[in-house]
Symmetry: C2
């Protein structure tokens, strides 16, 4: 729910007001979500007992305005389901433009399964030609006067048992809705498997970019740069962006602002967290991790053959305390110790291993692994 | 595909033959999959250019037998899609029983979206009453003679553009199929999000049980038992089963046989892997990890306050080599060092942390994290 709203609010600047129908028992929780995410354009109304009654309540709020709100009657209204959180701006725009011209418009998709009509005894009566039918999805858009008129005219039976707004516009206002081809993203989160899919889609979306944070920008032989190159090779679908923590910190600041949710921070000294701590404090000051978790991998290089591993590891285990602290801010911190061998081939292998570990941490985003010191 | 077949083959003993339609370019790969998983009941036939033509090819193979196979004409045939891998034995049985009585039967599901009929200009012509229609899903079952007759009678147009077998039985044999209510599991893996969902469902299914392997069964104060208790508390949805590595190893052997895919192995000595190695060799001898990965967490207890952590860690880093070796057999091995403090409260906290880490490893099953030594 909140994800959906955030999508709408953050991405679509031309939507003036958002009216959300909420059941009485969820009203308080919803208010808190709105406050937490600082949504400005959302008004809450009480949901009806059926889908159509909820929509009608929303339309009434827009038509009449509300004493404690700035709502006003719009020219065009979009109707959408909260259970379709991945709607894109493009299709919203298409239905709005079509609704302005035709009075009503809705997104459609090809049917995945054949639709059949059962007879009263539970046998097949007939099956429908799949090529001649479509699934009606959301969003739908209407000239406000058309859909409001339809809801005012429609019967109690419609309000109780109907689900399709396009049908109401047709039946009561003789408005033939324009049908707009939608993308697969419009699917309805209905079953448990849909929640799994939604979780994976969100994880995939916020894992498309990694920022590699380094101080020593000038020295291209620096192992940090070699790691950056290795990440580019091993993580095909991920954009690898370099970032610097200069005095003003503007570079990383900019990347945070552009909503990159994954950071690999290369520390200059093996056994302390100076650079990581700088980055963490920047992240804490930003609101980046409000909606989605931010993954930070604190990278340390050490030649295991020259320096005893165990003393360094013991020092680096302090990362556990650091991780616990930033976890409260939805930042998932892990440590990564990479063997920086003099042998070129061994070094390459360690860097490759490091890139694989980083990929795993970013893909899974599992808070159970925070504070761990991984070794490559 | 192979997952689907394995499900059918492994779970449903009363299915005599399985005929799979495969395109020519995938035939070799498919043969290799069948050999790898040692499927005995599968015959391959060449797929047609449309769905109906593929099914017809399969029916012909069953009707005529094949010179190099043991296929024979069955009384009842089930038609199913490989893209619906989560079919349960229960619904297969239901459609078969109904087909024996009625000649044809198919699984149905409620419609998720309203179905509409567009007019030629891309506007809404009319919308269908959702309550009076259903989605036709798979599996479907038929008396063999009914569906074979239907395919022999049907037109080239049907074979090119049709998709619905129930409709053919109705049209050409006047057989009214019985409709059987199916579960949400019958959904069709169609889009990328469906692959995500399928992956999560499989992971969820193989993560429902953890076997905690211990030698010291008699001593209930043993920290291993405390960890077992903590796992029961922290992992609500998971069945925690104790297992022993006695001389004959029968106990764990039995659990492996019953297809538990997750093992937490408590080692008696902090800095070696004796018990873990025993378990790994049992797992390697079994075929458990052929289809799905097996997660093994090698647990070691140490009082960090009494014994220097770093020497133990250095020894335990050998787990990396061990993990690399068993990775080839689809076994994902990680180490977990748990602080075994004298302070009861600290001990509880470490055990809780350990349980959270174990839960994360089992949930994600990410091979990028193998060989790591995690600390709780």
């Amino acid at each position: 729910m909140d994800i959906h709203l955030s999508y709408l609010v953050d991405l679509v600047c031309w939507i003036k007001d958002i009216v959300v129908a909420v059941t009485r028992e969820n009203m308080e929780a919803m208010k808190q979500i709105i406050q937490k995410y600082q949504h400005k354009r959302i008004s809450l109304i009480e949901a009806g007992v059926t889908r159509h009654r909820s929509i009608f309540n929303g339309l009434k709020a827009l038509a009449e305005g509300q004493s404690n709100s700035n709502l006003s009657k719009p020219e065009v209204v979009i109707i959408h389901d909260a259970v379709r959180p991945f709607v894109e701006e493009d299709v919203l725009l298409k239905v709005v433009v079509a609704a302005k011209e035709h009075g009503a418009a809705g997104a459609i998709r090809p049917l995945v399964s054949t639709v059949i009509s059962p007879s009263a005894d539970g046998s097949l009566d007939h099956s429908l030609d799949r090529a001649k039918h479509r699934a009606s999805e959301m969003p739908q858009a209407f000239l406000f006067d058309v859909i409001y008129e339809a809801y005012q005219q429609c019967s109690d039976y419609d309000l109780e048992f109907g689900t399709e707004c396009l049908q109401l516009a047709l039946k009561y206002c003789h408005t033939k809705a324009k049908l707009v081809e939608g993308s697969p993203d419009l699917w309805k989160v209905t079953y448990k498997r849909d929640l799994y899919a939604a979780e994976s889609i969100i994880k995939e979306r916020i894992s498309r970019e990694i920022c590699v944070v380094m101080n020593k920008k000038e020295d291209t032989d620096h192992v940090g740069h070699l790691l950056e190159e290795m990440l580019k090779i091993e993580l095909n679908d991920v954009k690898v962006t370099p970032g610097t923590l200069c005095h003003t910190g503007r570079d990383v600041q900019h990347i945070i602002f552009e909503q990159c949710y994954n950071f690999v921070c290369v520390n200059d000294t093996t056994s302390d967290f100076q650079e990581t701590q700088k980055l963490l404090s920047m992240l804490e000051k930003s609101n980046l991790s409000t909606l989605y978790s931010v993954v930070v991998v604190s990278v340390h290089f050490l030649d295991f053959e020259l320096t005893p591993l165990c003393q360094t590891m013991e020092k680096l285990l302090q990362i556990r305390e650091l991780a616990k602290k930033v976890k409260e801010r939805n930042i998932l911190l892990c440590g990564l110790l990479i063997c920086c061998s003099q042998d070129k081939q061994k070094l390459q292998e360690s860097l490759r291993q490091g890139a694989i570990i980083i990929a795993a941490l970013i893909k899974e985003r599992n808070s159970g692994l925070i504070g761990q010191l991984l070794v490559a």
